[in-house]
Symmetry: C2
Subunit: 821 residues, 2 copies
């Protein structure tokens, strides 16, 4: 059989016949019996709540009153499962099964029950009639399990909810797992999604030497909910070209005859596994470095395969009508119930299950043992041995800070040196992901110890590309996120750096992952997995090109909507706090950590020891910047994040120059969730702690780069909330003023200072001339940038000074001296 041949049992112009019929007749019979058992159990889950072994004729009360579930894709998933088991046993493989059409939840649940895993983790669902009844009843039932593949499903890392991420998850799982084979079923509906469509190109990012193999199985069953699927309706040459274009050698299996399909699929699967073994041998033993054309399977089978051919005169098997529950009213409609019973009996359950309800030995033995069972594969449960990262001491990477608020540094560049050594110490369990922004985010130091993963053609001038690179760069936030999720879900560690402007692209993926974490927290047998760490740079506040013109800082809002126990948001103002926060995040498990830190040069504030203290508290008064000297302040200036912190300090300096006795307290927030109530978030401050920082009655002005209402929402229960004024990002479309964004916007020193004049009662009557001077500065600066294209030098070069600062008087504006209060 040549590569280009098609393994099939039907006559097709371009099709060949499989060279071999690898299965003995009794093997076909056994595999088919296992398949029938899995299908029987799947139909049972969708329809039945009693009489699980059909010991008596089906009566209305045996059928669930409300039917929910997806049959259409399930028999295909079961068919593949059976064949993967055969191959696993024959070759002693380590196989993980990722099911793109995760709505076929009954399938893997049935398989896990047949393999015994289900009863091991859920003892009440035992391998007997009682357990089978529970298995059926619990499915899509109050207090039971969801209809999709879910965290509750043993052997799965892939939520069967929103479609599109199966291949990305599969590759993420395969990275750095050289002995693992990830069989990934891609549904032909799912294949229409954008994320899946680009995931095929993962073939250029996998290293046959170091990484495991992914075996995609494109399952063409022809229909989505109601429409046909694109890939099932294009010409054979188009499909072949497409899959080869993705870097694969496709083998097509198609038809309906069960015995022939078993033979054809087994032959094609054997061929694929042989090729994978040969690829890995060439790469690992012969040292040949080439990008292989990885084999893959195309399974074309009827939707709702083995289901009723027709119900009420409409075709069901092979039709979109099989997508969910093929027919309703099976409880009270006698004809429908008869169809259901005939359908169930067509699997001949009496041959499949012993009297007590357990699978008969021929079936029970038709799967590998222990951790070789796909439903018990340890990779699918946080990895074989979820290990902590070996982390260097982040204090060794700290920048010296001679005086707070001086010495501008690109904080993420400092972080890059730490991450470089994190990478070097964890060369099989840590990866970094970025949509082609790794260096742009100033993390280039990492490339001193590894390369960008790249297994396609290279040319002179390329920068740090290698098949075994560990920095994953592709211009797809979806793929970055999906790979990373797969990597984390199999127990490894990673960090995703992205411009804040574009991270909304993965809002929906973040949702699913956060929910997965939340649910697994309550599933005893699930191991905790390393946290999903985002580093958001180029925050929208300071975006020249991207961001303000067409995006927003709302990802944090989106994150904070999730359950408090799984989300953390950090806004380190400088390099040393960024180091401390990142170290903390890399050690954590079961969280989504969002770190927001600009990549532009920023003033540095805290020595590393001070940074550790500050980050451990997560929030604190900066005494050195405050002028309240422990007394009751006139105003509290809160700030979070690098630019807002700088602008706040600059405002303090301005005001200090005018009003020598004004008592300002500066409170900096690193851990945003500290603002929330301790009854709402585990990091939340108690009311007493909050009040001690922000007072209960003094005005509070809070500078934040995102939407102001988020700060309000986090603090609305606090006693002093009525006095809180947040200066943040308010949606203003202005693509015409990219530079204005740099400094002159919501959170800026002059506006903040003016807001202080408004907020502090004792300044109101004495500050008219200060207000005028500040307003003039705003106008002067605006005029300056529109003429010269850059900020005024006093803005550009500003640093904090412990000395009483200069006031804002211009040469031409003699002003009265600051008034005493």
């Amino acid at each position: 059989m040549r590569e280009s041949e098609t393994v099939t049992d039907t006559q097709q112009p371009t099709a060949g016949t499989p060279e071999g019929r690898p299965l003995a007749d009794d093997e076909v019979a056994r595999i088919d019996a296992w398949w029938r058992a899995a299908n029987y159990l799947s139909v049972g889950q969708i329809y039945l709540m009693d009489n699980p072994l059909l010991r008596e004729p089906l009566r209305p009360e045996h059928v669930k009153p409300r039917l929910l579930g997806h049959w259409g894709t399930t028999p295909g998933l079961n068919f593949i499962y059976a064949h993967l088991n055969r191959a696993t046993m024959a070759r002693d493989l380590d196989v993980m099964y990722v099911m793109g059409p995760g709505h076929g939840g009954p399938g893997p649940v049935a398989a896990a029950w047949l393999e015994g895993t289900y009863s091991e983790v859920y003892p009440q669902v035992s391998q007997d009639e009682t357990g089978m009844r529970r298995l059926f009843t619990q499915f899509s039932f109050p207090g039971g399990i969801p209809s999709h593949v879910a965290p509750e499903t043993p052997g799965s890392i892939h939520e069967g909810g929103e479609l599109g991420y199966s291949l990305a998850h599969a590759y993420g799982a395969a990275f750095d797992n050289p002995d693992l084979l990830v069989a990934a079923v891609v549904g032909d509906g799912e294949a229409e999604t954008g994320p899946l469509a680009t995931s095929w190109h993962s073939t250029k990012f996998v290293d046959p030497r170091r990484d495991g193999a992914v075996l995609p199985i494109l399952h063409l069953n022809g229909y989505k909910i109601a429409s046909p699927t694109v890939l099932s309706r294009i010409d054979a040459d188009e499909l072949d070209g497409l899959l080869r274009g993705f870097g694969h050698t496709p083998y097509v299996v198609e038809g309906e005859g069960h015995a022939e399909m078993h033979q054809a699929f087994a032959a094609a699967l054997d061929r694929c596994l042989d090729e994978i073994a040969a690829i890995q041998h060439r790469a690992r033993s012969e040292g040949i470095s080439e990008r292989p054309r990885w084999p893959m399977l195309v399974l074309r089978s009827p939707k709702g395969w083995t289901g009723p051919a027709e119900v009420d005169g409409h075709p069901v098997e092979g039709s979109w009508r099989s997508h969910q529950v093929p027919f309703a009213d099976a409880r009270d409609d006698d004809a429908h119930r008869a169809v259901l019973e005939a359908w169930l009996r067509s699997y001949r359950p009496e041959e499949l299950f012993a009297d007590a309800g357990a699978p008969v030995p021929e079936i029970r033995d038709l799967h590998p043992g222990g951790e070789r069972r796909m439903s018990a594969n340890p990779h699918a449960n946080g990895g074989r041995m979820p290990r902590d990262l070996r982390l260097p001491d982040f204090r060794d990477y700290a920048v010296p800070v001679e005086a707070p608020g001086t010495g501008a540094v690109e904080s993420t560049r400092v972080l890059g040196t730490f991450l470089r050594d994190v990478m070097a110490a964890n060369m099989t369990s840590f990866r970094m992901f970025a949509p082609d922004e790794h260096n742009s985010n100033r993390l280039g130091a990492v490339l001193e110890v590894t390369d960008r993963a790249w297994n396609a053609r290279t040319v002179p001038g390329d920068d740090h590309l290698a098949a075994d690179g560990r920095v994953m760069e592709v211009l797809s936030e979806h793929l970055c996120q999906g790979w990373l999720e797969g990597y984390l879900l199999t127990g490894r560690h990673g960090l995703f750096s992205c411009y804040e402007a574009f991270i909304h692209i993965v809002d929906s993926m973040f949702n699913q992952h956060a929910k997965w974490l939340k649910v697994t927290n309550d599933i005893e047998w699930r191991h905790p997995i390393p946290s999903l760490n985002y580093l958001l740079t180029s925050h929208v506040w300071r975006q020249d090109h991207n961001g303000f013109s067409h995006q927003d800082p709302g990802f944090i809002d989106h994150v904070v909507n999730k359950k408090a126990e799984v989300i953390r948001v950090y806004l380190p103002p400088d390099a040393n706090t960024l180091l401390s926060v990142t170290d903390h995040c890399l050690r954590s498990r079961q969280y989504v950590n969002v770190i927001v830190a600009g990549k532009q040069p920023q003033l540095q504030y805290l020595s590393v020891d001070d940074a550790i203290v500050h980050c451990t508290k997560g929030i604190g008064i900066w005494e050195w910047a405050s002028t309240d000297a422990g007394a009751e302040p006139d105003i509290v200036l809160g700030c979070a994040g690098d630019v807002p912190t700088m602008e706040t300090l600059a405002a303090v300096e301005l005001l200090r120059g005018w009003f020598a006795d004004l008592r300002i307290r500066v409170v900096n927030v690193v851990d945003l969730m500290r603002l929330q109530d301790d009854r709402e978030h585990p990091h939340g401050l108690s009311d007493r702690e909050f009040d001690a920082l922000f007072t209960t009655d003094k005005p509070v002005l809070f500078a934040y780069h995102g939407y102001p209402w988020l700060i309000h929402r986090l603090t609305y229960r606090r006693a002093n909330h009525p006095n809180l004024h947040v200066r943040g990002y308010v949606e203003e479309g202005t693509t015409t003023t990219p530079f204005d964004m740099c400094v002159l916007n919501r959170v800026d020193r002059y506006n903040l200072a003016i807001a202080v004049l408004d907020a502090v009662p004792r300044l109101r009557d004495v500050s008219a001339h200060v207000r005028e001077a500040l307003k003039n500065k705003l106008i002067e600066h605006r005029q300056h940038i529109r003429t010269h294209g850059q900020d005024l030098p006093e803005i550009r070069d500003w640093q904090w000074s412990a000395e009483p600062g200069p006031d804002v008087r211009g040469d031409n504006e003699p002003l009265t001296e600051p008034s005493p209060s």
Copy 2:
């Protein structure tokens, strides 16, 4: 030349040579001159703020102090522009230009200036030296224009921000524009995104008879910011297979020699245009219905083509270093400035621009006239004649409501009959979009007058597929959104129906579109375009399969973050209000309208006349459901959306049975933005109006299906906000209780009633037994659904009754009679 041949000027194994050299030598010279002019103007925009014609040697003050922009992709965009102009003139075509690599903003701005369009819409940027200086200075400069293709760019419908949507926009523009050719440049970086990767399959959704043609031009310039691009580094056979797999016949143009590249590109473009003409002739004149293999171009050219070969010893042209500004410090670094001057002079500006600064006649005439200029194409400005939809009278589709709160109806099914006739009356200007959920969303009536668009193979049993179908179904929310945006931006109308659970997939696309609307509101020459209408069904609240298990109702929160002037959110509680709201949305322009309406059977409340009144007000007291009879209420029950409204009314009925004199006011909200302050949103209520509804001091309990803090945020300035308690969706991961979601959750009658007992002071001491009875009901219901798999009949069959309702006593729990207050 056979289809499979490659048009190229370099030696490649699979390459042929173009059959012809279609250009005369002087034509090559003229096209090249135009290209040089566009490139000169592009470099000028990135670097210069004075001395635009290089009349004197370049001095530091002529160079911008801060350099921002993207050079790398720009010369390729200009090259294509020049050739499209030639073809447009030769064939009198109607061409729109969509630039996927929209960061190449200097290119189309330069072209628009050369074509005169720029000076027409921005007279101060005149076609002379002064105008050229302004053209240069304004680029990426405070008070100027953004560095990306933007709403300010004449001829563009495509924001050059987040990548991935160019092909989808192009197809959206081509739909129902039979005479339009949309040339769509796909960057090879962009091609890695998921949305773009699946957009290629649009070939199966375009009708050669009725729709215009899209000519994709895959621009392989090899690099993203730092990494190579996948498609530029796979083998030629893979790329060829891939593009053919997408349904195209690709023609490859590659090389560096300018003259040869002009010839090769012109030959290949001619070939493509010939094929498109032939395809359209076969479809339109010969009536042949087949899916054509649409031609497309692959242009392989160096990144930063025509730029400096080398700077500081590093290669620049053809390298990733060309991506943004190829070299910095051109102001103060004499060597760099010399490189810049040599680079600019290499275009020989003295040949291109006359003394006064205008393009010389040979160049000025090298574009078509009037609306044939791509920069002046009316399609790119809201369409040639943005027409209103012809709408039937929605009152004709209303359901009769005999008594409020009775007669459950699937509201979206009723809407479907209206939309059917909207479709029938607008068969060239209205389309509907759904990720395979059109029928699932109960909009199937529309298929009585049209079909699903489908131009791939069909088989018996397929349901309503036709090449000229107007219901666009593909399992990609990205593609649905992108097509619709393209359709709207060219002046037509549409509606996107989607499960609320999955609409987060397009968060980021929504962002860009909303920002586009906001910015175009301030651009005088831009015509208003029809609104982007979302119909979100299967709201998360009532999602059995999807939604609660892995998604959330946060899309509304995301929408409300946008500028108030462009967003509207509606929650019609029943069919007649849904009709009224949808009619309103379909008439509107320049908004994003979000309509949330469940597809399950729901009670009906308002006659169509009442619905019109209610929707016009957007919020109002439901007197018939209230018991305060115009007096001061004990409590206000607010509600928005179908399920929360039903549960609120059920709670009223329960309470009425217990407390005959309890004064409850029911306020229903259809237009969510009414809750906001009229200073924040144009639909907002004044404080006086708000207080009249919600009082200033009585407890308010608000039932909402989404995150409760959104309601708080909208109302936090209101006098009565301290007394507002919102019962909404709080993030609880619980895939184990899909059924519990249906009724027994946050917003439910028993919990609401208990909350009323808590909130109304005069009930506190007299309601202990009622509270117990309500809690028992909750437990009874939970037990019932876990046993029987469906709600208690009294829940399932509940309807509003104007009679005093039954109380909640069970047979076994005799209780004292309700206490008088």
